[in-house]
Point group: C2
Chain length 451, copies 2
């Protein structure tokens, strides 16, 4: 009988994160201050980020050591397992081997905890007592509230009001770990009060919630802000995924022909693919790196690389990235974590330079693949992660058509147990493919900031 | 830095289940036919169970080989990890070492899949095409629907109507794996129709749902019935838990002083504790085995051993067990899986003979322990499993008081991600301790069947 799971021993866990800035043929242009439009320096970021993370944002050191205190928490669930999806291979009748790294074993249920833990750690050692953040569907808020709990920091989460009301399970989970929760827009900030004055029934948006969290953090000496994707230090922390997967594949004498991960803000894709991009850039290793995204929010496949704000209000530094324009309003797909107008500048540049490629899928096809995966492997995948599953299935079927025994690796970034209402909608045939709102895209692209 | 997780390699998985019937000083009295009150033979059970399972029910062979087909499915999540709860130890400031086996890694989220997989397998090889079962909160229904999906059998689940309406996440999960669902009482059986005729708004009960599933199975040649606990073959399958845990503890040169598991129908407790009871009975090893149950449904601590029916209607064979009486209506505690009037005859006898002991806890104390555990270890535990956590904490604090460095093992039988509304109730201080309904208990005990 064949082996299904490949476990790495705790003693073989990576002791350093991989920083692709050391090896990229072209670095993205620097982030700009939103007011002066000059390159943003450490001082511009220090009111809301600790210096430890600001330094990681800019460093070009290839390896950044993981602190012992972070390693101790990582060990609660890391190394995460690597599975061979034998039953899925059989169902597809493909000669391809399909491996998946599974980040849903984290107590947060997703890869997000890989970065919330070091983020809280670096804040703690600089004396910060409290972190503020925003969350949409709730994955990031759960991860940050858990990490704050582990290190004894307070955590305040501005959760988009419509999600706050519709996703009580995720809200309760944050509260269980001690987070203080506000439905955003809230009465707790000037931004929130101003919005509520205009529209007391505002359902909220991620853009509004970011503004509230940043205002909260900027206004209190003991408080910083924390972001769950996009920035360089977030991608850096997530490289534990790809580094572990490489070691696990080595244990069974494999190296992937294709590496696939879904892409919203980019930390999951970067974290999975960059350790393989390292081989590709520095050793010329042949490996395809595929970022999969929703066709209703096709940042990498339809956006253009340029300067744009990270948030809707235009408070953040200008980032050099693929963007659909901050005013683009993505349709309400179930993969809430992939509904972002921009993407990590590092991921953007790697795609721009042809080191990685991107593909976009409609959500009904993605859910079909999710259910096939669940029926074969048992695990209910998150809607976001299911974009990677769909990409892997596409590749496995292409290998079958070509008669090639390829090795495919994808990252299953989270489970879908708190997303079961989305499955209910799919099973009831109430889930539809949203066409891309071309007019809205045209307008938002025309409205990109002039730099 | 110390090791937190102990993984067993797939090649070291147990290849046989342990059958305590081979070693018990006293076997429980035989099950009786509900009509004749004579010992029930294989022919009495064959209309609804396959012969493979009927034989396991009665065998006194010590080891029962696990079929290859079952091993292949087990490998999707087994061996399950053993954790050392170092952060919990620290929080309790105890000299005790606390280890926990974690069964929540199964795709069903609980230990129930350990038995649903072999149950479906033995039905399949005897030509059965479809299984019918009941489910209360939904854990067992999920496990059986997944196992049927893996082996290509149809699955029909009668889910207690009030749960069907209040637990849409669990219902959707069963539907995702292809189960046909009925809210019980349903129009699909004579039993259901009769109940609905009397009371069209009946909320249903586990007793009614069992009757519907048994009627369904008995009425169709291609269909059998499946039960998720209580019976000997179910306990047998669950011994993979304790067998693996023993090997994992050996890997770190440990043997437990105390083994703790929660107890409803008894399969989780038996599965965890019996491989250690083997050492205790056959080698005189000193190890305490503690079954923890809710004080609102204290089967082992307040029930009496004798013959009783497994279901409310009195359709099942009479089982020799601790029972609160089939008419006892337990208060609506959140640990739905522990709301059962009876218990496995094997567990009952082991407790009766003093090989294991039992303790009962109120639910607010249990939830307090659950939240402490979640904050230390990250994982949100199921309300049922939290009874084991509470027992482990009690033992760890006793060790602290006595200044003894004990080794405690407990089984965390499932995660609580689909039980978050119970946590919400606790956090909102809406969760209360139900007093034991003494009058109801007195009546139901007085009403035990005369044999």
């Amino acid at each position: 009988m064949s082996k299904v799971k490949i476990f790495l021993d705790e003693k073989d866990m990576p002791r350093a994160w991989y920083n692709i800035q050391a090896d990229m043929p072209n670095l993205p242009k620097p982030a700009l201050h939103p007011g002066t439009k000059q390159p943003a320096g450490p001082d511009d970021l220090s009111p809301i980020f600790p210096m430890g993370l600001i330094m990681q944002e800019a460093t070009t050191e290839r390896w950044v050591e993981i602190p012992d205190e972070v390693m101790e928490i990582y060990k609660l669930w890391r190394p995460s397992p690597l599975f061979r999806a034998r039953r899925l291979e059989k169902a597809l009748d493909t000669p391809a081997k399909i491996y998946y790294k599974y980040e849903g074993v984290s107590p947060a249920g997703s890869h997000k905890l890989n970065t919330s833990v070091p983020q809280v750690y670096y804040n703690k050692i600089e004396g910060i007592k409290r972190l503020a953040t925003e969350t949409g569907a709730g994955q990031w808020g759960i991860a940050l509230s858990q990490a704050c709990n582990f290190f004894g920091l307070e955590c305040t989460v501005y959760m988009v009001k419509v999600s706050f009301q519709q996703k009580p399970y995720r809200r309760t989970m944050m509260e269980t770990f001690g987070a203080e929760m506000f439905a955003s827009p809230s009465e707790n900030t000037n931004t929130g009060r101003a919005i509520l004055k205009k529209d007391p029934n505002s359902p909220g948006s991620l853009g509004m919630a970011i503004s509230e969290a940043v205002e909260d953090a900027a206004g209190r000496e003991d408080t910083n802000y924390s972001l769950g994707s996009v920035l360089n230090h977030v991608i850096l922390h997530q490289t534990v995924i790809g580094l572990e997967a490489k070691k696990q594949l080595e244990m069974v004498d494999e190296y992937p022909d294709v590496v696939i991960a879904c892409c919203g803000g980019g930390s999951n894709f970067g974290g999975t693919a960059f350790p393989f991009a390292y081989d590709k850039i520095t050793k010329g290793t042949k490996v395809r790196l595929i970022a999969t995204e929703p066709s209703a929010c096709p940042t990498l496949t339809r956006g253009t690389q340029g300067y744009d704000f990270g948030d809707v209000a235009g408070f953040t530094p200008l980032l050099w990235m693929h963007s659909l324009g901050k005013d683009f309003m993505p349709p309400s797909i179930h993969a809430g974590g992939l509904r972002y107008h921009g993407v990590s500048p590092l991921v953007s540049q790697i795609v721009k330079d042809g080191i990685a490629e991107a593909r976009a899928y409609g959500q009904t096809a993605v859910f079909e693949s999710a259910i096939l995966f669940a029926k074969c492997e048992g695990t209910i995948p998150a809607p976001e992660s299911s974009h990677a599953i769909h990409g892997a299935i596409e590749e496995a079927l292409a290998a079958k058509a070509a008669g090639e025994a390829k090795t495919i690796l994808f990252n299953l970034s989270g489970h879908g147990l708190l997303d079961l209402p989305s499955y209910e909608a799919y099973l009831a045939k109430k889930l539809i493919d949203f066409p891309l709102p071309e007019e809205s895209l045209k307008k938002s692209l025309a409205n990109l900031p002039q730099v």
